[in-house]
Symmetry: D2
Subunit: 439 residues, 4 copies
Amino acid sequence: MKELFPDIPHITFEGQKTDNPLAFRYYDAKKKIDGTSISDIMRFSMAYWHSLCALGTDPFGGPTMERPWNTLDPIAAAEMRVSAIFELTEKLGIPFFCFHDRDLAPEQESIAKTNALLDKIVARIKERMESSPVRVLWGTANLFTHPRYMNGAASSPSLRTFAHAAAQVKKALEVTKELSGQNYVFWGGREGYETLLNTDMKREREQLASFFHMAVAYAQEIGFTGQLLIEPKPKEPTKHQYDFDVASVIGFLEQYGLTPFFKINIETNHATLAGHTMHHEVALARSNGVLGNIDANSGDTLLGWDTDQFPVSTKDCALVMYEVLQNGGLQKGGLNFDAKVRRASWRPVDLIYAHVAGIDTYTHGMLIAKKLLKEQTLKKHITKRYAEFDTSLGKKVLERTTTLKELETFAIENPIHRPESGAQEMLELLLERAIHSPV
Amino acid sequence: MKELFPDIPHITFEGQKTDNPLAFRYYDAKKKIDGTSISDIMRFSMAYWHSLCALGTDPFGGPTMERPWNTLDPIAAAEMRVSAIFELTEKLGIPFFCFHDRDLAPEQESIAKTNALLDKIVARIKERMESSPVRVLWGTANLFTHPRYMNGAASSPSLRTFAHAAAQVKKALEVTKELSGQNYVFWGGREGYETLLNTDMKREREQLASFFHMAVAYAQEIGFTGQLLIEPKPKEPTKHQYDFDVASVIGFLEQYGLTPFFKINIETNHATLAGHTMHHEVALARSNGVLGNIDANSGDTLLGWDTDQFPVSTKDCALVMYEVLQNGGLQKGGLNFDAKVRRASWRPVDLIYAHVAGIDTYTHGMLIAKKLLKEQTLKKHITKRYAEFDTSLGKKVLERTTTLKELETFAIENPIHRPESGAQEMLELLLERAIHSPV
Amino acid sequence: MKELFPDIPHITFEGQKTDNPLAFRYYDAKKKIDGTSISDIMRFSMAYWHSLCALGTDPFGGPTMERPWNTLDPIAAAEMRVSAIFELTEKLGIPFFCFHDRDLAPEQESIAKTNALLDKIVARIKERMESSPVRVLWGTANLFTHPRYMNGAASSPSLRTFAHAAAQVKKALEVTKELSGQNYVFWGGREGYETLLNTDMKREREQLASFFHMAVAYAQEIGFTGQLLIEPKPKEPTKHQYDFDVASVIGFLEQYGLTPFFKINIETNHATLAGHTMHHEVALARSNGVLGNIDANSGDTLLGWDTDQFPVSTKDCALVMYEVLQNGGLQKGGLNFDAKVRRASWRPVDLIYAHVAGIDTYTHGMLIAKKLLKEQTLKKHITKRYAEFDTSLGKKVLERTTTLKELETFAIENPIHRPESGAQEMLELLLERAIHSPV
Amino acid sequence: MKELFPDIPHITFEGQKTDNPLAFRYYDAKKKIDGTSISDIMRFSMAYWHSLCALGTDPFGGPTMERPWNTLDPIAAAEMRVSAIFELTEKLGIPFFCFHDRDLAPEQESIAKTNALLDKIVARIKERMESSPVRVLWGTANLFTHPRYMNGAASSPSLRTFAHAAAQVKKALEVTKELSGQNYVFWGGREGYETLLNTDMKREREQLASFFHMAVAYAQEIGFTGQLLIEPKPKEPTKHQYDFDVASVIGFLEQYGLTPFFKINIETNHATLAGHTMHHEVALARSNGVLGNIDANSGDTLLGWDTDQFPVSTKDCALVMYEVLQNGGLQKGGLNFDAKVRRASWRPVDLIYAHVAGIDTYTHGMLIAKKLLKEQTLKKHITKRYAEFDTSLGKKVLERTTTLKELETFAIENPIHRPESGAQEMLELLLERAIHSPV
């Protein structure tokens, strides 16, 4: 098979001393950690849309990216991108990619024709998978680009739009199953409102709940056994999205009886746009048993929009992996690089630098997190900190078997002026040192 | 009774043409609107803490406020403040005030002594209420000022702190009942974390849930029939508070079986700190049946902390009241001015200007909201906008009795390129005009 | 001439009681205020780009707008837009429009061909101006859309890019002069950096200064007598733009000897993205004698990107006009609606609703501002507030003829505990009342 | 001399392998780097106010800190703090401290008495300095805590307040000189406004300029040879401070003829509150020749107030030091830990953990920055990136000797579609690797 990017080599592990930006310092895919290979722990995925479809446009500028399919017609370009996704993931040595239906094949003039074209590309992917180790981490439907979704998809005031979204999700579920995708993601880019002045929020939330219930039913009907995931984002493109953050999604799932069917796909830049650290969102999801997948990118907390940058902060990655490891990994989920190269990084090789940065930083973070857990660097302080609750009265609190009265009696007998120091600065020092210690 | 503020007159209604900043243009307390007096619709309340206890300190400056009790010892000052709250609310012609336990009386060296002093002040308030129409809108416990709460109260790692908080809430519930308070509020100023490095978030949230369950049980035990309210705030003083926003609180209540027992007290500046408009938070609470009380203030969205300013935006107030009126009012709840005069507004009369501004702006907002609802200015557009869902298939969506398959069939037969225009600019124009039309 | 928008009527003044969203309540164009017609005071302008060229795309969605030229080839569409700008501004009864070079005509494969096409369109505009009262408020060059500007234009590390930008500004100055444009604007959308890691900030700022000096020289050479304006924006599309805000631009002009040649074009949403109120930016520019033009839009302070919404806050507009009136108006500048209808407002009539909202809200604001100034509502408090400086020692401070020593002596003799109250709440009340009083 | 903190040991360098949080990994004070000792390169300073005076209060809570002087009267406490500052800085092995006048001694009932008490404490410090290597990095006057400064100090509408501020700065300059302080800092905490409704911004800025001119004159008069520094901050406690950021200060200095006399003291958390990275602010100051001092702390970009945390991000510190080293160091300036331990870190030892974290992280950052510069990791890419400007035409641009016309000719002959890739991701990868490579 002719290479599309002949100048891009296979990226290999060269160890911590390498200065080669086209080699890994930490990502030694086959190396086993506690019996599991690093590629099985990390489960990295390339995002079809950002890496293959996006061309560097922004609200103030046109396309900049140099790609081999730039001059082809849309269908030929779509076909070439199938080759590209396998070539690039294989050269990076990562096991997965993720896609929206419209990334694979552009919409045609009817649902039937659109689906037929999609089937053709899907067949090509399936064929390519026979000779490649690369698999689908998850699929999803693009319910936000077409004008029909301008007012939302499942939360649109238009039943025709709602129905089109339903048709699209039906097909996307089928396609994801066909490609043995391990998860299916719902990101409701326009499921929210632009202004409350024209919106019936209660009704739109109910429409959305109904939509999720139907999707669950259909997934069960066709025997799709992957995880269903909801991806929160607070805003952009909308003024307000209903899946604002992890806490909102948990509440929504509880309110509408959807908790048993969904986990959450957490994206770093969405977390920060909602005013949370990524660590918070992952920890909250983990502690509620709904951590499903990581959309591994990073944002710029001084910028107010979704910059979708590649992750290059070892500390941030270590903290995410600290939660992931305590979760026993991500099961069917993975770490999808939902990130795009900057508009001025227009060379194909920039895509590779970016992925090497993301892969290596996250792997390094995992190695640090492993060590933090093994050495109980933070845990031993936390255990000590909550020790008062290990008494019988403390346990009664957690079991909800005590009363204000009983506690008042205890309080009168056990006055307290200051509890233990929070020791935040010491813990921050220990963490920063761990980040910079050999792994 | 000797007046504490002899220079401050009773504030009266002078009608829309007055230029007197010590008179009302809109707040005609006794005037009936659809059979209910304006003071019964608005249920305004003065905040004991901001108006009587706070002295103008900020993180960079000392006290500035000139108050008659400045030179008194703490207990004498506490006694004088009882006279002050009645004098000021009566002069403003508003029916309520709200308090924390520690606003009424400062903490003493033991729980017993603290409670004894509190009882003494409470008795004084009760006595004063015999000759005054002013009542208690809600009480609450201050679980954030004392060093023992540095790591949280119900979510503290210290059982002794937890127990002290329990004792304090027990007493505050008793006192609120004793004073016929119509609501009891939980604001967990330190129920959150400073750093995840020393925090077991799951456990702390469970402690908090247990605490709420005990409070519910005790309120029932003593026959407190007021509403229990949770007040969300995203952060400050903490890095992250568990009651982040309305959606988070709804989720928390659902997860821990607390939904039947609580409504929500929404504060404007807390809404904006969480990245939401106040309108959003109120609308979300209303649409979920948990709208309990309004902490009527305003923030500055270009500043990142809780400025707790008095509300002076007619449009913002009109939108809050638009939701409140659709809620059938606030029932036992009210509109509490959880707002403070600026540090440089140190004269007692500044407190009055500020309350006149808040009272009049909110009342004007209510009158506008009434008219918007009566004329269906926005509603008629909303009804039309969702009309497609009035079909039988639309109803099946809302009843969750259709399927992706059925919808796909409909979509194939009913293609849509663009749904109806959102008409946001027209609605914004109509709203702005309504804000500036005679009421 | 055949109308492009036959369903859109001429918008007329119907007075404050009208409920017709296609009529004005306040904008009575010919009405004289103190001898000047309202249209001469307000000098409203339509933005060619947002109103005619933009099609509703956003980072997550494709075009939505229904426009008569949607199906035409680019050159025919450009020609039709000339008719459209005149038809729409005339129907709205506003005197100006503003344009970028590339709004008028799309770039062709060489500078020569691009300029030739531009000349053709410019000729068409000139011809159209013979029979229309509509004029050009300002022109500018689009130095941000084409890939060559991905790293900046004047601040690009590429000399070829720099030179292309120079050629484009040269032509845009010529064209603006040809069309008797009254101002020429520089908005450096990409004059900043994406990352400091690849940037020599000092050098880029010097390149930018050199560029401005050359533009000044060329404007003088060709006898362009309009105002030159710089438009600050803090970020977006870049991580950081060199013309961050009014204060930054003032400093830049001072540092590089450019102060005599430039005034500032202030955009509301750019002000808020920089963390300032629009009132602040306009007041700062006025007090430094550099207030040149208003890009009249509004943003959403809870969203972190440039939403470019139409202005519908009477209070905000009144405060801008309060400064503009004290500035003796904007001279050659005007109020350009650098605003776009929401993506879902796809009908041509939505453009009209939006402009009516902007025109009427700003005109109402001006009438309020006039009254505030006439009645000295705020001024009389300010004068009183600074009265201590009317003494001889106070004057010496402002004249810089006193010393720390002399002031120490005065301080010892004139101790002060509290200065006068800032009375912020009273002033806010007075302002809100003024906003809601008859004009 | 009796130790105040007998449990706190001298902190020593133990090398990169130590796990002891009361030892340094990188700060080997006497070790020479290119002939200069690390303590001379870093010039660390303890902040008297945060470390000795602040007691853990926040807007929602009272004091928490356990300090040996907690139970003493104010004057005895002030005396004990003199011993404390020397004991703590000596134990940490850092050479400097910084102070406000009111940190050293509390204000008394007259200027005379206040100054007398201050002199007494200053004498005690001088005496202590005879036997200690610790010196004063800078002094400043607290012009924000007392109620007289509620409306500003130099920008107050009250002449008496202005004069008091003048008297205080006069004395603070004298005291700083007396203690051989190497710099004097102006931070105008309240030099701004709360609301434009009561403010004459132009006049207040002129008052401020006059104040600075007088301070310069007095410093010269008394022969103070230290650097004068202005410290920008955008807001908090005010709504808007006139010294918003580095760019604003540069502009202000230029406008008012103050450029020759001042450099800038840049604080990390102030940078981020203004919407800038610290790297940006330091780079901008450096490139304008006004980099004077670093207030070494860090903020939380997801929180909107000045959290003043200790710096623990190696990457951020490395980037600051990257600029500092290119500046040839900070000359008379230094790195002042304008940071406070969290409110729950109430033990004295928490102060030490925090300083160890700050000292070690910054020293590590410096070592990384040295290496980055030595290896030209970023520089070589930057040089290549701007290479087009090394031509004769490029030079003419920078010398301002070319014209739009000449450049147009060049542009026509040298078309450009895409300039070089910005390669941001590769540079970010190289930087992250450098941060994690041996130093």
